[in-house]
Each structure stands twice: as C-alpha cells, then as structure tokens.
C-alpha cells in the first residue's frame, strides 16, 4: 500500500492487493459501535452533569458521521476506480476522527499499549497491533501533510 500527498493538499491511499483493501475496510469494523466512545467519555463526568442525556447523543451522531463517511469513501473508491482512495483536505478531520475511533476502540479491546511482546502473542492480538500501527502511520501523515501539524 502506498500513501502519498496530493498536489491539492490531500492524501492518496493506493492499495496494491486485496489485503490492502481489507485493511482499509477494517477501519469501520474496528470502530464497532461509535456510541461506546461517547459513553466512555461521559463516564469521566460527574453524574450530576447529565452528560449522558445532554451531550452523548450529539457526540454519538458526530462519531457515527465520521465512521459512515470513511466507510462510504472506501467503498466508493473500490467500486469506481479500484486504484486509490483520495482524502481531500476538507475531509481530513473526518478521516482522522474515524481512524482515531478505530485506534481507541482497539486500545479498549486489546490494551495494546500494555503488551510488551507481540512476537508470541495470539494471532488476533498481533493483527490488532499491526492495524493500530498502520492507522497510526495514516494519522501521522494526515497531521503532517494535510492538517498542518507535525507529530
């Protein structure tokens, strides 16, 4: 898979194999239920704040939009040209947010940062680790080349 900056200030993700497409399509499934993130953030707030009632629905909607947008962009790219997924500059925050949701979800599910050695880890855990590293690389590129911030 190649990921290169475009002249328009975005990124072009160029999958080369079926496995590359599958990794991209896994972003949405790694996110799972976007509501979970909204609820876990609400857990940080005092119960009296009514955060669950007043804020979580908006957050959930926002996270759902990010997830659905990225899922549709990947599906469309595969269906229409089968060569590249283009991330336009004005869509970068949605992409970053969706990928971040996927990484937060993986961390919550597998505690990846608590694992010291992936060599002998179960296949599922190693796979989650490699997806997390791939997502991290995409986030770094988005920050550096599209969102104007370097890590």
């Amino acid at each position: 898979m190649n990921v290169i900056p475009t002249l328009e200030g975005g990124l072009s993700i160029q999958p080369e194999t079926e496995a590359d497409w599958m990794v991209l399509e896994t972003i949405a499934s790694d996110i799972g239920r976007p509501a979970h993130l909204a609820e876990s953030l609400a857990d940080l707030m005092d119960k009296e704040s009514d955060w669950e009632e007043l804020v979580v629905p908006d957050l959930e909607q926002n996270f759902n939009v990010q997830c659905r947008f990225v899922q549709a962009a990947i599906e469309d790219a595969r269906k229409n040209n089968g060569q590249a997924v283009f991330i336009k500059a004005h869509d970068a925050e949605k992409w970053y947010g969706a990928i971040n949701q996927a990484r937060l979800s993986l961390q919550a599910r597998y505690d990846l940062h608590g694992v010291e050695d992936f060599e002998d880890a179960p296949a599922e855990l190693r796979s989650a680790h490699f997806r997390d590293r791939f997502y991290l690389t995409l986030q770094g590129l988005l920050l550096e080349y599209v969102m104007g911030e370097s890590e």
Partner: protein, 93 residues
C-alpha cells in the same frame, strides 16, 4: 452543536460563581501533535502554550488547561470530547 447547559435549572449564584477547571487526561492513543492542535483550536492558545500543556498531560497524566465559569467549562469539555480527548472538569482549588 447545542450547549449542554441550555436546558439546565439555574443554581444559586454563590455556587455558580465557583471557578471550574477543565482537565485533559493522558491516554496512550492520541498523538502529541494532535493534542497540541486541539488545544490551539479549542482554546485559541498559541503553539508554545498548547505544547506546554500537552507535555504536562503526557508527563504527569493530566493538565488543567482552562479555569473559569462552569457553563463555559462544560462547553470546553464538550468540545474536547468531540475531538476524542479524555477530558473532565472539577471545582478549582
């Protein structure tokens, strides 16, 4: 996005006037550059101030990033949550 405080009942003035702190908590996922960017966008901090606060989060596990009126603190926490940062608020000491 609507302010979370719009439908709340009013509280006695003395309680309302207590300053509240907005805290950002460390997590192993959000990138340092991203946290800095979010602090700049949400609070309007310059690069140096935002990076200092981000490093405090990274090294001590939390940082008070803003202190002031409760309703505004709630608004800021809501913004930080929408950027997926772990954030909460507490009465300022």
């Amino acid at each position: 996005m609507a302010s979370p405080s719009t439908s709340k009942k009013s509280k006695p003035k003395a309680q309302k006037d207590v300053p509240w702190s907005v805290l950002v908590l460390d997590d192993p996922v959000n990138l340092m550059g991203y946290v800095t960017m979010v602090l700049k966008r949400v609070f309007g901090y310059n690069e140096e101030r935002a990076a200092t606060l981000m490093l405090e989060v990274h090294t001590t596990g939390r940082s008070v990033v803003w202190t002031g009126a409760k309703e505004k603190a709630e608004f800021y926490v809501q913004q930080l949550h929408s950027w997926q940062l772990k954030s909460t608020m507490e009465k300022a000491v």
